[in-house]
Amino acid sequence: MDIVVLVKQVPDTEALVQIADDGVSIKTQDIKWTMNPYDELAVEEALQIKEAQGGTVTILTLGPDKAIEAIRTALAMGADQGVHINDPAAQGSDSLATAKLLAAALKDIPYDLIIAGHRAVDEDNYQVASAVAELLGIPQVSMVNKAEIAEGKITCHRTVEGGTVVVEASLPALFTTQRGLNEPRYASLPGIMKAKKKPVDVKTVADLGVDAAMVGAANRKVKIKALNLPPERQAVKMIEGEATADKAAALVKILHEETKII
């Protein structure tokens, strides 16, 4: 089973994200970058499948120089090799352009299965994996918290509002991860040492045969007009009172009379 995992480096979820002076991007300095948490689940799942069935795990990412860190983390966890699409012309691509670049790279990588996070926790677009599957003409299953492979088919437990739907797809296929799928391992020290020697292939937009006029910040279909901080709430009104019952009564009175919710 040859597996490709789509990985993205994103700001850590505990990071304070600040708007850059241009008003349409974020300050990329001074924040901790990490592998997208849903992609960690994808790497772990790929490694577990490889350990059970044999095969290879290839990590594919699009990002600037520092995105190599996300590939190295995955290699240290146990993946075999990396492909890094690194080209200034590709920077700032929107979801569809990103998918076109990843799909172009996947033409040269053998795969039976592609695993990705269901979204990256930066732009929260929920689109790249679906678009990659479409561009490759393979089936997709999203937000999976359990996957089983047998006889050329994958059976995925897909989380939906209020339940789970079990979806079967023929391989090759793509699925995206949801929390609950597994517990990602930490890279071991020997793993980190080995990762340094594992091959990482660097590709440019031209290498992939993709038209540079379709990718990059200047060619986004989805243009960011402005980034804003969410509106601030009024200062909290602390409910005071002698006894707990008094405070509870005061709060419920407000919720009942002012907000009309209860």
Binding site: S142, G162, L227, L229, L255, T259
Partner: protein, 321 residues
Amino acid sequence: MAQGVFAITEQRDGELRKVSLEAVSEGRRVADGLGADLTAVVLGTGIEGLAEELKKYGPDKIWVVDDPALADYTTDAYTNILSGLIQTADPAVIILGASAQGKDLAGRLAARLDAGVAMDCTAIKLDNGSLTYTRPMFGGKIVADVAIEGALQIVAIRPNVMDITEAAKDSAIEKPAAEVGEVKTAVIQKTMDTGDKIELTEADIIVSGGRGTGGDYAVIEALAAELGAAVGASRSAVDEGWRPHSDQVGQTGKTVSPTLYVACGISGAIQHLAGMSTSKYIVAINKDAEAPIFSKADFGIAGDLFDVVPALTEEVKKVKG
């Protein structure tokens, strides 16, 4: 030239999802603003009645695609049919819900039609005939205004945010020709929560518990039951195994927008705040009066949740009489 607005509705087992009514209502507002027609599209099998129900929200046309192959949602069948309908009708804007289904579908449909998507939008603004979409990013730490270039714009709206407006019309119900085409996925089983468990992303009220519960959710559940609320949890509570992953609110869980969010024993980690900051009213209950959650709350009680929450339940009972 592309014109008109499509609202793609979502039904499960013959029932329209709430976000679909939001999508049709918002579609009506956008279509009126653009001076264009609104077509509501419903896919499924045995769904005649749903078209009648959709008339209430005022589409000009309702397109019904009824096929046994559409009994359950599959990405392939929906993409095949919808892309065909869209290529025929050539609408300028497509609105759908950013539900589990919409999030799965939007990227695939966009890639087939080579269109841009504004995902999980909380507002659509119309100015001089051009549309701007407001959408949270970084789990809500940042709010972006985006515009889409190209003949077709796809917008997925965040459930529970936009208003449902009744504006009944004698909409024309039509059954356009549509091909299910090649389908490489099959739904082989569905396991839905039994009873009346309320879905977090659709709930009007959420009572959420964090580390402060110590794993004991009895008082939280009692208050939720009294309020008719859904129960949520922080990441640490889920990591501890106290609640299932499906209950997690936050940047790596669900993003929720209820009318009232009651955070109990949740300190307010930035990734949790990201997932609930678009709630209309936020109430925080925490032992630590300095907890960050209070900085994002409208109302707060500093106190032990095991005292405060049962007291709230009693008061709610009194009010409800």
